[in-house]
Symmetry: C2
Subunit: 200 residues, 2 copies
Amino acid sequence: MEQRNDTRYPVHEVITQRWSPYGFSDRAVRREDVLSVFEAASWAASSFNEQPWRFMLATKENPAEFEKMLGCLVEANQGWAKVVPVLSIGITKSTFTRNDKPNRVALHDLGLAAANLTFEATARGLCVHQMGGVDREKTREVYNVPDGYEVQTAIAIGYAADPQDVPEALRERDAGPRTRRPLTETVFGGTFGEPAAEVR
Amino acid sequence: MEQRNDTRYPVHEVITQRWSPYGFSDRAVRREDVLSVFEAASWAASSFNEQPWRFMLATKENPAEFEKMLGCLVEANQGWAKVVPVLSIGITKSTFTRNDKPNRVALHDLGLAAANLTFEATARGLCVHQMGGVDREKTREVYNVPDGYEVQTAIAIGYAADPQDVPEALRERDAGPRTRRPLTETVFGGTFGEPAAEVR
């Protein structure tokens, strides 16, 4: 798979390969791959091993369920996501099961799980495009999400399309430069904003 | 490295190896490994590529700075974390730089970055133990964290200790069973709480 990310320091190839395309192929994802990417998510770390994440899942194999989930995305995402074979919506449990106290890091821990899912998918030649653009109220209604749980994110899983098959507007977005802040602007030492000695 | 996690479906070996020990060795982490784990973090996905994560970093090579950060952890974490060679505190930017609007998923995206960091560390034979137990107010004061940024988590990075060198109380916690909910209780289909057909 292509090394998409031009990193300043060497990192694992799966991290250099990960990207979030807008142009997806309609090629189906095998059930064994779906199982393994969610299994990977479930082995993320979480505060007190609460595993606050839950996932709604819809695939093209059930068109009615797929349309139902697609309709929970904001319109801007429905345009490119409609061809993706696997969609998921990430939900968090708001309190710790052990003591019913609020779980301040539930959304963080959903991110840990989503990154594990993305890693496993990338290692299998799949691409993942995560979205904050989900209609949270509609999703709660459509899926009967109970009180104590919060609808948070959406996740598209599939194969990147051949660029020549991607509508021009999306193709241009996918072809744009991939940039990140240098570590000197991200990893700080004794005071916020001052680069740590280790990254200077 | 040991395959710690008994997964129900096959996942990448780095995911089966990841765990969060309490018993760390005082073995130093090479600077090149520190650079690569934070580089990996920086290549996580984020909403509008905001990269809302920032990290304070302290290592044993600067004892004063290390003590300063250790003192920002809740007491229960200071006990085991004091031997870890590398500590970090995760901070989020509360708004999007592009339009100053609130970034609802900043904490989620810090989780994506922390998982990338953890993945890179695990692939290098290191262990990561993340903590929600950080004194957020004290950290803001000590590091002059400005308004518009939120102190969120702490991260310990080092090598797992040989169990025989770990105090008994911690050794027992590290030796405990590693459990996760089955996918049937995490991945749902048409209605929240009902297992998706793909995971049944």
